[in-house]
Amino acid sequence: MSRISEKFNELKQKDRIALVSYITAGDPTLDLTVDIALQLEESGADIIELGVPFSDPMADGPAIQLASERALVGGATLAGVLDTVKEIRKKSGVPIILFGYYNPFFKYGLERVVKDAAEAGADGFLIVDLPPEEAGELKTHTDKAGLDIVFLLAPTSTSERIGLVAENASGFVYLVSVTGVTGERPEMDYSLEGLTGEIRQATGLPVGIGFGISSPEQVSRLSGYADAVIVGSAIVRIIERYGSEKKKLLNELSGFVSGLSAACGRSNSASPGRAKK
């Protein structure tokens, strides 16, 4: 069983949902990415999504676009990101998903990237612009290496799309909460319960919800029907703000992520008092 599936099983026992934290690797440096990842785990992140920076992040809002730019200016490459995974893995068993756009993976070589990722200790891939239709070759390699491919679903997804993703995904299914790019939003769409249910009928995989989540209140409300929440831009903004002061940065991240983690208990969900501002 993959590290990701093990983590979901473990959390189920504890009656908790998974907190997936996204950071862009190399923002502000790859060295600091190791410290940041370890800090996130210590503060309660269950899974780390490690963004591989790309020059043209078409599905990302301003926060992650700028993080990608900073990482590329800082010299981050896919090879460097894989080394970073290795460093994190020396000290931690936290599941790591490589998140990004297809071109850097394709250019690196699909067989090679899967082999190197597995050796480094990564657990899966989530490639935004690689729908199941185009993922055949990558999947051959990840299946062989025992790594997961997480696919996205969206509010626009039809039942046909849900079926196709269910057939091909492993680890978990990532439900994009909004029709839009990544980024925090004050108003969450909480009408995803129906869609989540439909996905559950198609697959036994856990369902994670992401895009636009930035507060414990939002996490708490989603814990009523999601198996995981993914928080990205809000964390990236903290890194943007405090990137040059390591101690302060880790402190801020710790405070923010433990707050989110505290809202990940299933028993918290739907208790009316909590969601109030």
Partner: protein, 402 residues
């Protein structure tokens, strides 16, 4: 390798190129577009409506003009120009926007978005949006809004909102990124009119089909004028829609050679250019697999061309396929060669071409003298040069100062 005229295949690929590399949010829209296009492409009523607008509004057919003075000056092949510069709005772009906008209307979409580099596709989109009473927003790199200020004014006058894109290199690629982000956000209400034979399937096919009117007309016209098919077709290639439109109806004619001309900017060897096939490697950008200008880590490289419409790090996937198959050859000309073509055509024929089209002219000026006097060459004059007067004036005066 034989070229298959039946491409793209059912999954949207031209050999290894093309495909649908888009985020899941867009997949249903792309599939829906595929279905809608299948419905209209063989629908006589749609064809009739499009033909009506192409004739009465766009001004087609455009002339196939024999450039007698240029032919004499160069000595060699007879040079014909397919005069897309005489189409409404001054470039070939409207052939495609007219078709896609009618398709959008059929699909019940009320809002149209588009990316633009030179501004010609933006103007052509804003024009059909005005005609069909649709809301329109155009994404344009800040750098390009400066180089092509006249076209920005035209788009605004036509009622479109022009969104200046300040990300990245502030040119066509970044405009396309931002248009994609808007599309992801407003996909339910919005139709994205892609301006080149690029993007995810079915766009490269749709744009090719709508632009094929160029080659269909040219084929009939040259048969009428010369009683035979041409020996060589020449067109500039950024994303490559005018080239694809001219070439496609001739792909099955073995005796017709074709050359696509990319932008070599300051020279291929300088690395400052936009010649994706000449100097690129295979990768995936903006929804399809194709030749790209990228570094060894798969990051897209900044590009340069004097012609904003060619200033793009990728190329339509079908061009990549036609290059690999050997059916079409691709070459490149520099900024200064293009500028020479720009001046020569203006002074010999009284036609001021777009800087993009000037790349094709510059190559034709090299090719024609090497061909015999009874051979025939057709150049796609994809657009007129009014939009470029400002940058050309700057360049010429700058050059004199040096």
């Amino acid at each position: 390798m034989a070229v298959k005229p039946t491409l793209p295949d059912a999954s949207g690929h031209f050999g290894i190129f093309g495909g649908k590399y888009v985020s899941e949010t867009l997949m249903p829209a792309v599939l829906q577009l595929e279905k809608a296009y299948e419905e209209v492409r063989n629908d006589p009523a749609f064809r009739k409506e499009l033909d009506y607008y192409l004739t009465e509004y766009v001004g087609r057919p455009t002339p196939l003009y024999f450039a007698e003075r240029l032919t004499k000056k160069l000595g060699g092949a007879k040079i014909y120009f397919k005069r897309e510069d005489l189409a409404h709005t001054g470039a070939h772009k409207i052939n495609n926007t007219m078709g896609q906008a009618l398709l959008a209307a059929r699909m019940g979409k009320k809002r149209i978005i588009a990316e633009t580099g030179a501004g010609q596709h933006g103007v052509a989109t804003a024009t059909v949006a005005a005609l069909l009473n649709m809301e329109c927003e155009i994404f344009m790199g800040l750098e390009d809004t400066r180089r092509q200020a006249l076209n920005v004014m035209r788009m605004k006058l036509l009622g479109a909102k022009v969104r200046e894109v300040t990300q990245g290199t502030q040119t066509l690629k970044d405009a396309m990124n931002e248009a994609m982000r808007d599309w992801i956000t407003n996909v339910r209400t919005t139709f994205y009119i892609i301006g080149s034979v690029a993007g995810p399937h079915p766009y490269p096919m749709i744009v090719r089909d709508f632009q094929s009117v160029i080659g269909k007309e040219a084929r009939e016209q040259i048969l009428q004028k010369e009683g035979r098919l041409p020996d060589l077709l020449v067109a500039c290639v950024g994303g490559g829609s005018n080239a694809m439109g001219l070439f496609y109806p001739f792909v099955g004619d073995e005796g017709v050679a074709m050359t696509g001309v990319e932008a070599a900017g300051g020279g291929i060897e300088t690395g400052i250019h936009a010649a994706s096939i000449s100097a690129g490697t295979v990768g995936v950008l903006h929804g399809s697999k194709t030749y790209l200008l990228q570094d060894e880590d798969g990051q897209i490289k900044p590009t340069h061309s004097l012609a904003p419409g060619l200033d793009y790090p990728g190329v339509g996937p079908e061009h990549s396929y036609l290059s690999d198959s050997g059916r079409v050859s691709y070459t490149n000309v520099t900024d200064s060669e293009a500028l020479e073509g720009f001046k020569t055509l203006s002074q010999t024929e009284g036609i001021i071409p777009a800087l993009e089209s000037s790349h094709a002219i510059a190559y034709a000026m090299k090719a024609a003298p090497r061909m015999s006097g009874d051979s025939v060459l057709i150049v796609c004059l994809s657009g007129r040069g009014d939009k470029d007067m400002h940058s050309v004036a700057d360049l010429l005066s700058g050059g004199q100062k040096q």
